[in-house]
Amino acid sequence: MDQAELRALEDRCVQDCPPSCTAACPAHLDVRGMMSAVADGRLAEALALVRAAVTLPVAVALTCDQPCRPVCLRGEHGDALMVRAIERACVALPATAPRGRRPPRRRGSVAVVGGGLTGIAAAQELAGKGCRVTLLERTGRLGGGVWSALPQASGTVVVAGAAGSPAAAVEAELAAAVSDVTVSYAEAITAGDLPALRAAHDAVILAFGVDDPGCLATALGSTGPERVSGATEIPGVFAGGSLTRASSGWSAVTSMADGRSLAVSVRRYLEGVSLTAGREGEGAGRSCLHVERSAVESAAAAPPADPQAGYDATEARREAGRCLQCACLECVKACVFLQRYGSYPKQYVRQINNSLILSPGMGYRASKTMIDSCALCGLCAAVCPHDLNMGEVCLDARRELVEKGYMPPAVHDFALHDMAQANGADFSCARHQPGAAASAFAFYPGCQLPASRPGEVRAAYEHLASRLDGGVGLLLGCCGAPAQWAGRESLAAEATAQLRASWETLGRPQLILACPSCQKTLMESAPEIPAVSLWEVLDEVGLPSGCGAAAVAVGGSPVVAVADPCAARDTPAVRAAARHLIARAGFELVELPWSGARTECCGWGGLQVIVDRQLTQATVARRVAEDPHDYVAYCAMCRDLFAGSGKRAWHLVDLLFGGPMFGDPALPGPRLTERQQARARFRRDLLRNAWGEDGDPRAQDDSTQLEISDEMRQKMDDELIGEDDLAAVIAASERSGRRLLDSATGHCLGHARRRLVTLWVEYSPLGQGRFAIHDTYTHRIEILDDEATEGRVGP
């Protein structure tokens, strides 16, 4: 992915778009933020938001025509928010001392023609920026359209803590607004006066109302002022305000926003920069924010008890609490990983983009754990209105880091080593069905399920062999998914090549896959190999006679919840077959809230569990809390991670091939560090029993026996230290005599380099090749001038 592609992805996320209310507001008032602050009782903060967007907050709070309300999404679920009434509650707050600092006088004298809200806002903005401003008003009274709009808000109002009439409040605000402006109640300015006015000032703003008496409009030419900047055909003359709008009626906020916008144009003009660049978003528009509202309950507006007085703080709080706080965040709601980093994909993609492309390597620290801990499960894309897939972004980033040499090798080392073992002599093999010379099919159970459920996998193989004609071969190995996930494309390609070669030695049979990740991986990496899921095949050829024993054993027709693996997100046929089989096995089935195409990953995907174990624990905790029933998974890692967290979870093979020895849903599966041995044992036993192959060429060296507490085993698994790792270090330190001794406890401390880490083991010899393990830990840093680690142990 290049920078442009990443930018395009970033643009797909709409979470940054303003909500409907803000988009419709000509001043882009942060209504959502204001509502949130008011609802929390932080009125002063809300007032600050109003002031940031609105130059004349009292006039607006009393007379705004509220273009935000017709588009407020709350309006579709009750009534739109009472936005103006909330603003009024904000401006009622006692005034804080005015900010003292006067801006420095700068170049520029500006004439503003028209003392309505547009002209006043423009004049105030420019004066505040240090311009010398003269405001010309012909009627003898500032305010223009505001006076005819005001009667709607008659009675007494509280502004800045003091009660008074609305007119007096507005009068005071306007007077304060022009305190740094020279106001001249001149005769009406006509088109003929314009040249002289322009000559006397650096810029002129024409901000006249609907009833322009001087026919200045003729000065604007036939096309009118430029839409964004208000520039006219005369350089330095800008026009805006009600006259230039064909809109229906006067609007306080539109007039005020016009004034601010004209002030921006004048400043740009005086500074000699582009009048229009980067201003496309100004003014009222439509929101592109996606807001999921299927669960929103209706709520009617709560009008103030005394309509004259408006909301008091408590009432305002209640009303503001009805705001939906419109946001997208669909993916963030769905994904624990995205929640973990406190932001949303637009920002994440930008961060990754910055660290990868703008300064390769340098910013990696900020995003490295993020890039490496995504489960690559694609749920984000499934829920995103614009299909943004953070998994693709993260995988691509991993590949780029690997390619450029920025990926620390130790990050995924455990998983890659595990894969190498599964594709090595310990596990990998290809056999025709015993007694057959050809294979129309080959069962490929993957590398994890045989470690978790050796008995059931064997039963499944025998069942397939008995039901299918043409021979059912056996293929053992790893599909290369771990290398894919680690971003190691060449390693993944090697795994695919190895599988392809074995498939060819068996005569190109159709593969029957028990692992959804294998299926997903092979569909992409080896589409020429015909493959089908075990579940679809079983649904077709029928179930073994003993099937249903599991259901009977747990009594009645037990209810289970099916947990789709993330790898089955795009294979509805596989998901349907799994459901069908669960029902045929005598179980009643309920759906989880996140299932089917919107299913969640368990945390094995993308090697998340290797990189950030705690994140996976949080992911699993959320998953298993979705339903109280036993879960049925059809991915070995889902099943084992659920059960490892204490949730009762079956693997689908337990239901189908359960005899007296079916897998116990309450028991955890093998630990990550125990899987290598478990899958090696599976192969040894199966080849011995079904093919009569004796004597594994690499029989295990059982000469070292370790006594390890459960607690220590958990620690080993958390740190990805295997029992064989400990045995190798102990053997080396016993052989060489090089070790430390804790004179207080008498414990030995040996260390050696194992793969990409230095492994330390605190142990006590118990005699006859037995050792008690007290502690173990690793670091990635290598010790150079230390003989004990010079001869590395093992691979």
Partner: protein, 60 residues
């Protein structure tokens, strides 16, 4: 410190030890056997200072 070198039966003493990670070599003072040179890195140091250095170098 109650840790001794099992082979030389002497107490450890601080010395400069050369370390390497991701192609970068550096020297750190660590307890080691003054006779045979065997180094000691405690779990506290491994998960503390060492990890900090690892993370620093990985982010380079």
């Amino acid at each position: 410190m109650s840790t001794v070198c099992a082979q030389c039966q002497v107490e450890l003493r601080q010395r400069d030890v050369r370390l390497r990670y991701l192609g970068v070599e550096f020297t750190v003072g660590l307890p080691a056997c003054p006779v045979c040179g065997q180094v000691y890195i405690s779990e506290e140091v491994a998960h503390g200072r060492m990890r900090e250095v690892e993370e620093m170098l990985e982010s380079k």
